[in-house]
């Protein structure tokens, strides 16, 4: 067995075993068995790092691929297999998932301390990590879908962890159903691909697509359907509504699932399928615009929210929009790179917010303030995360975001009509810097707005701050200085894919775009530094020194403010239109079933009874009548003859004798006559 094969097995088996053990006996173990989960995930992380080391460092090659697959079952004409597909992208994604999962496990020890069902929380985390590793490692569409759904269900369990709260119970069902709508599209995409290519394994499907077994409109539809899965999981417009609500889950969950890993699954999937996706320019355009809409409008919502986790949630949606746009415009590496940097700094931000909530006992930023002095570590790390997300140079977010902007600019410069993508991202970047620093200022600066909770605030325990520090280091180091995108580019992405990305970017356009690469890069970089600085400055003006009153501004643009504050009423739209329709139709159908269908069935009963009454009457008066007449005659005869029966034996004998005599005589006469 190849070393990578063994490692893959172990990476998958450990969290799954931890899940099983925790579910079975976790409650009876000392410390509720958290050491088992942490041990398992830490080992998995070690193995992930080994895989990374082996693939990226020891045996590095631009198009390294290790694939192994096992037979699973046969569906008749399709052979279902499952297996591992490890290339540079897998290796890097494994590390991202492993690191974030491990840190969240450790963080949860402190954060969830003393919670009811503590062991079950770790069990769910284990299930989630397993599903995520499976999603990263798998080598075919069917297993991908399985992992995809398992990720969904573990997020359902985790969001609903505080199930006695109504809001949590609502949030988990909402998350599952919304993402499942996306999943159905994804399944449909798989169905289409299987129908045309007859294959499930990535490699075979890509080959089939390259050979044109599926192309044109059908391919576009299949890709857009597949992308539907990503829209659900990665919370893209219009299926983003579940993510802010999902913050009802415990904060480590928000950090693990809803910031770093699960929501990145969609982006990873698109990245994994890029060789196929890049074959359809129309589909790529759809993806780019979906991403743009998401990035832009989630940013506008984040500006007005007051709940610290909601701000982060919308910022997550917005950043995911960036990644998707990057993939859509063909900036494949930039998208995946941003996925990694975002995973680290967003997990950091969420865990920091958890630390803040843990200390302040509220999620409302208006209740906080001045926490800087009370929680120095949390403040410092959160500031690092914020600088990273805002795209300040030397932090990780800068490199990746800049790469995305450059990709969008290049795309726009080739297809003039789509320059909107770049402009939209550009504006959204400014808003990102603005709302993130708004968060920092409201939480850590100024006066405390709630003295009581301020007095009780304190720095979190080491099990919570250590992960913060590690993630903070990663948030800086992940950037690798100014031009991190380059190493990432060369390390992770095989040349063939880079070409495909290029081809996608240039698809339909004339040559010439390639010449201007240098100015595009430096132009984009300059612009993004400028816009980030502008956002931070404005935020400082409004929330730092308060030269401009936030309230007055909000009042001045009240309709827009309301629109943003109420998240563009998308939730209300679903509630009032979609859900109301389903609820209405189910009532109508149930009534139809009861009244019409069952009514017809039950109607047969009175009809039968009517028929039966008629035939019964006929039977009674006519058929039976004749019979009864006969009976009447017999009865009359009987009542006469009964008089002979007097019970005196002697009279019987006499009668018998007389009868015998009569018979004799009659017999004689008859003989005589005969």
């Amino acid at each position: 067995m190849h070393l990578l094969e063994i490692l893959s097995w172990l990476i998958l088996a450990l969290p799954l075993a931890a899940f099983a053990v925790q579910m079975a006996v976790g409650a009876r173990l000392p410390r509720y068995g958290d050491f088992i989960s942490i041990g398992a995930i830490s080992l998995s992380l070690v193995f992930c790092l080994l895989v990374f080391f082996r693939v990226i460092v020891l045996e590095y090659s631009p198009d390294y691929v290790f694939a192994v697959s096992y037979p699973w079952f046969s569906g008749g004409s399709i052979e279902f297999r499952w297996g591992f597909y490890i290339d540079n992208v897998t290796a890097f994604m494994l590390v991202v998932v492993g690191v974030v999962s491990t840190l969240v496990h450790i963080y949860s020890v402190g954060y969830m301390h003393g919670e009811e069902n503590y062991h079950r929380f770790f069990a769910y985390l284990g299930l989630f990590s397993f599903s995520m590793f499976l999603l990263v490692l798998c080598d075919n569409l069917f297993t991908l879908y399985i992992a995809w759904e398992l990720v969904g269900v573990s997020s359902y369990l985790l969001i609903g962890f505080y199930y006695t709260k109504h809001s949590a119970a609502n949030a988990c069902i909402k998350a599952f159903l919304t993402t499942r709508v996306g999943d159905v599209f994804m399944f449909l995409g798989i169905l289409l691909l299987v129908l045309y290519t007859g294959q499930l394994a990535y490699h075979d499907v890509f080959n089939a697509v390259a050979h044109g077994e599926i192309s044109g409109t059908v391919l576009t539809i299949a890709i857009v359907c597949l992308f539907g899965g990503a829209v659900g999981k990665s919370a893209q417009f219009p299926l983003h509504v579940w993510l802010p609500d999902a913050m009802e889950g415990p904060t480590p969950v928000s950090a693990l699932i809803h910031a770093a890993t699960m929501v990145a699954a969609g982006v990873y999937m698109v990245g994994r399928m890029f060789p196929m996706f890049s074959q359809s320019a129309e589909a790529m355009l759809v993806i780019a615009y979906i991403g743009l809409i998401t990035a832009f409008f989630a940013a506008t919502i984040a500006i007005t929210q007051n709940d610290i986790k909601r701000v982060l949630a919308y910022s997550t949606i917005s950043q995911l929009g960036y990644m998707v746009t990057a993939l859509g415009v063909g900036a494949y590496t930039a998208g995946l790179y941003h996925l990694m940097t975002h995973a680290f700094f967003k997990a950091l931000l969420f865990l920091c917010s958890g630390s803040v909530i843990h200390a302040a006992h509220t999620q409302d930023m208006r209740e906080m303030g001045g926490l800087r002095k009370k929680m120095p570590i949390t403040f410092a790390t959160m500031l690092i995360g914020t600088l990273a997300i805002a795209g300040v140079p030397f932090f990780s977010g800068f490199g990746s975001k800049d790469a995305i902007m450059a990709g969008a600019l290049a795309f726009g410069s080739e297809h003039g009509a789509h320059m909107t993508i770049f402009i939209g991202l550009f504006v959204a970047a400014g808003m990102t810097a603005f709302y993130m620093f708004r968060l920092i200022f409201m939480t850590f600066y100024g006066e405390s707005r709630n003295q009581h909770s301020y007095d009780h605030a304190h720095e979190s325990p080491a099990s919570m701050t250590v992960p913060l520090l590690i993630l903070a280091v990663l948030s800086i180091a992940g950037g690798f200085g100014l031009y991190g995108g380059l190493w990432f580019n060369h390390l992770v992405v095989p040349p063939a894919l880079q070409e495909a990305a290029h081809a996608a970017a240039e698809h339909g356009g004339e040559h010439g775009g390639a010449h201007g690469e240098a100015w595009i890069h430096y132009g984009a970089m300059g612009l993004s530094i400028f816009v980030a600085a502008l956002g931070i400055f404005l935020s400082w003006v409004v929330y730092g020194v308060k030269w401009i009153s936030a309230e007055k501004t909000a009042a001045a643009i009240r309709p827009i403010y309301q629109l943003s504050f109420n998240k563009y009423y998308v939730d209300e739209f679903y509630q009032k239109i979609v859900i109301a329709f389903v609820l209405w139709i189910r009532k109508v159908l149930a009534a139809f079933d009861r009244i019409v269908i069952d009514g017809i069935v039950n109607l047969t009963a009175p009809l039968m009874r009517g028929g039966a009454t008629f035939s019964g009457g006929f039977d009674h008066y006519v058929v039976d009548g004749v019979l009864n007449l006969g009976a009447l005659i017999v009865q009359a005869a009987g009542s006469v003859s009964v008089m002979l029966q007097n019970g005196v034996i002697q009279s019987y004998i006499l009668k018998a004798a007389i009868a015998a005599a009569v018979i004799l005589v009659v017999h004689q006469y008859i003989q005589f006559w005969l």
Binding site: F73, S74, G76, T164, D183, F187, L191
Partner: protein, 494 residues
């Protein structure tokens, strides 16, 4: 080897021996009767396991026994098992002991109940193993009677209505089956042999009489569709389920419904292959209605048992869809779904029964927050619910995915609309789970005890199978796959 040659007979009639023994036991000895009934379902289970071990998928019909029965009419005692019947037989022998355990709470007229139950088991096993049309029909009707009494005597408040509805409906269907059987008998020179009948029909005047075939197929379809139950013949099911005692609901949903699709696959398809193709679109449309309409109706229910009943209607739609597609994936998916639905829905009904025993009502909105106090129970329910909504890793997913994969190339639009059923199913199941188990605890039920050992004993095997087949579907898939491929060949060639 002697015992193996008579494996099916022993398996079928062992419960009948038990029924006789139950009848001669004094009716005061209630616990003894229950134990006796339980013990007499076990040999069948053991034989079922043995059958799974001995069955060779490549070899076609096995365990065949053939004795003349009523020689004047050419009726034979002809039984055997192929890939289609083996999973169904196993499902039956598996569920019956579990149902006996689930009936432990029956204390009224115990003797009659268990005797009828064992008789029912014999009837069901007979249906799944009969290879003689007449014998099939006899068992088909034999099963009806105990069912009628079990619902009508030990049922809920509206038991008479439900029992009579069930009885008349099924009888109504049986008439068509009987007519079809007689017509075929008369036209093939007097044959009831289901194995040979296909060729006999093809070479008889019937073989070229498409019109007659059309009517015969329709008649059989109606007979079996009532059992499935397919829209619009489905309304007996919710009523029967709501009134029937728990164990009978389990049998009804777990096994009896499968007889409808089993009948179509065993009799209607191979006897009239051309008609099977002609009717495919029609069946697919009905299947679609079942899936979507059943799911939406389920969403509207307030009674937990009715909800599960409608979900059965919806899930049987997948079986029909796969069947109609006549593709390898579709057929395999359909049979797999028959088996999986049997285990999953059995779990669901058992779980409903468990909570009904405690709370004495089944109103979904009347509970709330039960997960807090009933961890084992809610764990089982969670598993069963997720299996029912087709979560990967659990058995329901594989069969649904196969059905969709199989149906998509043939009925593209229908499959796409049918996919919406996945979301609707998830919606009503999770919504139900939320209303019953999540949210703040309803103080009324703060003192409910969790699952007893007996209840766990009946739930664990099913849970195990649900997970096992979700991960290793080929364990059961490989049994019927060759048979299904053969059937497809027969039908598409015809």
């Amino acid at each position: 080897m002697e015992s193996q040659t008579h494996l099916l007979t022993w398996m079928t009639f062992f419960p009948l021996i038990g029924a006789v023994l139950v009848l001669i036991t004094p009716s005061r000895a209630k616990t003894f009767i229950k134990q006796l009934a339980f013990v007499f379902t076990l040999p069948s289970l053991a034989l079922g396991v043995q059958m799974l071990r001995l069955y060779d998928p490549a070899a076609g019909l096995q365990f065949v026994e053939r004795v003349s029965w009523i020689s004047y009419f050419n009726i034979e005692y002809y039984i055997g098992a192929d890939g289609l019947s083996v999973p169904m037989l196993f499902l039956t022998v598996l569920l019956c002991p579990i149902c006996i355990l689930a009936s432990w709470g029956i204390n009224d007229r115990v003797k009659g109940y268990f005797a009828l139950f064992l008789l029912l088991e014999t009837g069901m096993l007979g249906v799944f193993s009969a290879l003689d049309f007449f014998l099939f029909y006899v068992f088909w009707e034999l099963m009806l009677l105990p069912m009628y009494f079990l619902i009508g005597i030990w049922g809920g408040p509206r038991r008479e209505y439900a029992a009579i509805k069930f009885f008349l409906y099924t009888l109504f269907g049986s008439v068509f089956l009987l007519i079809a059987m007689i017509v075929i008998y008369l036209n093939t020179g007097g044959s009831f042999d289901l194995v040979a009948l296909r060729e006999q029909i093809a070479s008889s005047p019937l073989g070229s009489a498409a019109r007659v075939q059309w009517w015969l197929f329709l008649g059989m379809y109606v007979a079996f569709a009532i059992k499935i139950p397919a829209f619009p013949f489905h309304t007996w099911l919710p009523d029967a389920h709501v009134e029937a005692p728990t164990a009978i609901s389990v049998i009804l949903a777990g096994i009896l419904l499968k007889m409808g699709t089993y009948g179509i696959l065993r009799i209607a398809y191979p006897l009239f292959p051309e008609m099977a193709q002609q009717f495919a679109l029609f069946i697919a449309i009905i299947a679609l209605i079942n899936i979507v309409y059943g799911a939406l109706c389920a969403m509207a229910q307030t009674d937990l048992k009715k909800l599960v009943a409608y979900s059965s209607i919806s899930h049987m739609g997948y079986v029909m869809l796969g069947m109609a597609a006549l593709t390898p994936e579709g057929m395999n998916g359909a049979v797999l779904q028959m088996f999986n639905h049997g285990t999953i829905t059995a779990m669901l009904f058992l779980l409903v029964g468990v909570i009904y025993d405690r709370a004495h009502h089944r109103n979904i909105d009347g509970f709330g927050g039960l997960a807090k106090n009933l961890p084992i129970y809610s764990g089982f329910t969670c598993l069963a619910f997720f299996a029912s909504l087709g979560l990967p890793g659990l058995s329901g997913f594989i069969s649904e995915a196969l059905v969709f994969l199989g149906a998509f190339p043939v009925f593209m639009v229908i499959t796409i609309i049918g996919l919406s059923g996945i979301v609707i199913t998830a919606a009503y199941i999770l919504w139900t789970y939320q209303r019953v188990f999540l949210g703040p605890l309803n103080e009324k039920y703060a003192e409910l005890p969790d699952c007893s050992i007996r209840e766990q004993v009946m739930l664990y095997p099913l849970a195990f199978i649900v997970i096992l087949l979700g991960v290793f579907p080929h364990l059961i898939l490989q049994i019927f796959q060759p048979t299904m491929m053969q059937l497809i060949e027969i039908v598409t060639k015809g």
